[in-house]
């Protein structure tokens, strides 16, 4: 394959890099330079195409495991919720909602007064129209700015109640629990308490009725739970 006439300058040097490139083992700048050469060099493109199937076999050689069932469940809940949002059935798009919703205020870095602010500012909530025809659905619960960004949750509404499914919950100090809150008319009502499993997942029942509720939130509280939140919310599922 070497010694072809008419190959761009430096061809042999680039050719020697093709295997590393196929393996994703070049620094970004080197890779960009090689890509420019590839654009000009048919011989290198062909050779790369010949090598690539070897690389494609590598991921298939690893020990094959069964992914956790919760992964599919979360992905599908997220995907269905996003497809529904995108289909335009909603009254508004996600972006304006974020800013109009007072709850967003808490999504800024936590302060000691955050929980109190929730109760006060919360009085302005609840003006959005209820979306019609959605009695059973899955809502994505979003992590707040004080929560790890990979904290994930879904709220599945069923017959007036709901199940909150969460993963990647931060580990709790020994004397703490997580508490679920239902926000209604600007106030937070304590709901269920839970602690995550060892794999940091959890499901929590949220007893209904939730028809007139605005949101479901999760905070960390001392064991036994609190009547009012003592820490900023980590997770929030907006019901309206």
């Amino acid at each position: 394959m070497s010694d072809h006439v008419g190959e761009p300058t430096g061809h042999e040097r680039y050719r020697g890099d093709l295997a590393a490139y196929a393996l994703g083992a070049m620094e970004e700048r080197e890779a960009a330079e090689l890509q420019r050469h590839l654009a000009d060099c048919e011989a290198c493109r062909m050779e790369l195409r010949w090598l690539e199937p070897a690389v494609d076999l590598l991921p298939r050689s690893v020990e094959q495991l069964e992914p956790p069932a919760g992964l599919r469940k979360r992905l599908m809940a997220t995907v269905r919720a996003e497809a529904r949002d995108a289909s335009g059935a909603g009254i508004e798009t996600a972006e304006p909602r974020r800013w109009r919703d007072w709850g967003t205020l808490l999504w800024r870095p936590a302060t000691a007064v955050a929980a109190a602010a929730l109760l006060i500012v919360g009085a302005a909530g609840g003006y959005l129209l209820h979306e019609p025809g959605e009695s059973s659905l899955v809502i994505t619960a979003r992590p707040s700015s004080v929560a790890p960004s990979n904290l994930a949750g879904t709220l599945e509404r069923e017959d007036g109640s709901a199940i909150l499914t969460m993963s990647r919950l931060p580990a709790l100090p020994p004397n703490d629990v997580y508490e679920v809150w239902v926000k209604r008319d600007g106030t937070l009502e304590p709901s269920s308490l839970f602690v995550p499993r060892h794999d940091r997942t959890a499901e929590a029942a949220v007893p209904g009725p939730l028809d007139d509720a605005d949101a479901v939130l999760v905070t960390r509280e001392p064991r036994g739970g609190s009547q009012h939140p003592t820490s900023p919310p980590l997770l929030r599922a907006a019901l309206r």
Partner: protein, 204 residues
């Protein structure tokens, strides 16, 4: 609105056709896509990051980025599976880099054969993937150690060729040569018939 194939029909679609439905934001098509490739994706992520929780995160992020069309499949550049696993690999390497990476253990002898993992619920798809993986490891096992080592460090470790050269105290040219010889040898095993169609339903 495009008419929607019925669920059984989705499972018989070729990957490429399935992907155009996923691009069109069809959650059912995405579900079938996940069922086909989620296991291989999770296994790869686990192999790279070495931690079940982190592997789950990586897989979730990769599939959501595909769903959100941040990554677009280009049929000119290979199979859907290779493309999707490439996304998973890159995410996993990023995750490794952002977590403080422990120094690689070069004295390990398990390049291609990990200690066995707790077997979850076995499905037919998983059984087939396992068989293919076993055959591949066997084929890869015949590579000279110096070649398998550099390929392993690059692909699963996310190290660049110059980092690997430093690590092994070998000239960069030598490392490049070993990568190339190793890949060529693997390429030869392809001729011996590693099945392309080990994803049930994908090629009916």
């Amino acid at each position: 609105m495009r008419s929607k194939p019925h669920p059984g029909a989705l499972e018989r679609l070729a990957d490429e056709d399935l992907m155009s439905l996923v691009d069109g934001k069809d959650p059912d098509a995405f579900g079938v896509f996940y069922d086909r490739h989620g296991g291989a994706a999770y296994s790869l992520a686990h192999r790279i990051v070495g931690d079940p929780g982190m592997a789950e995160d990586v897989t979730q992020e990769a599939f959501l980025s595909i769903w959100r069309s941040k990554a677009r499949f280009d049929a000119a550049r290979g199979s859907v599976r290779a493309w999707a696993l490439g996304i998973v690999r890159n995410r996993a390497i990023d995750a490794l880099r952002s977590a403080s990476r422990p120094a690689p253990k070069l004295d390990r002898d398990d390049e291609w054969v990990l200690e066995s993992q707790p077997a979850g619920e076995r499905t037919e798809a998983e059984a087939i993937r396992r068989e293919t993986a076993g055959r591949l490891r066997q084929a890869l096992g015949v590579l000279p150690r110096e070649q398998s080592q550099v390929i392993e460090l690059a692909y699963f470790g996310g190290f660049s060729h110059s980092e690997i050269a430093d690590m092994l105290g070998a000239p960069l040219g030598t490392i490049k040569g070993r990568m190339r010889l190793g890949l060529e040898k693997i390429r030869d095993t392809l001729a011996e018939g590693i099945p392309e169609d080990d994803v049930p339903g994908a090629y009916l």
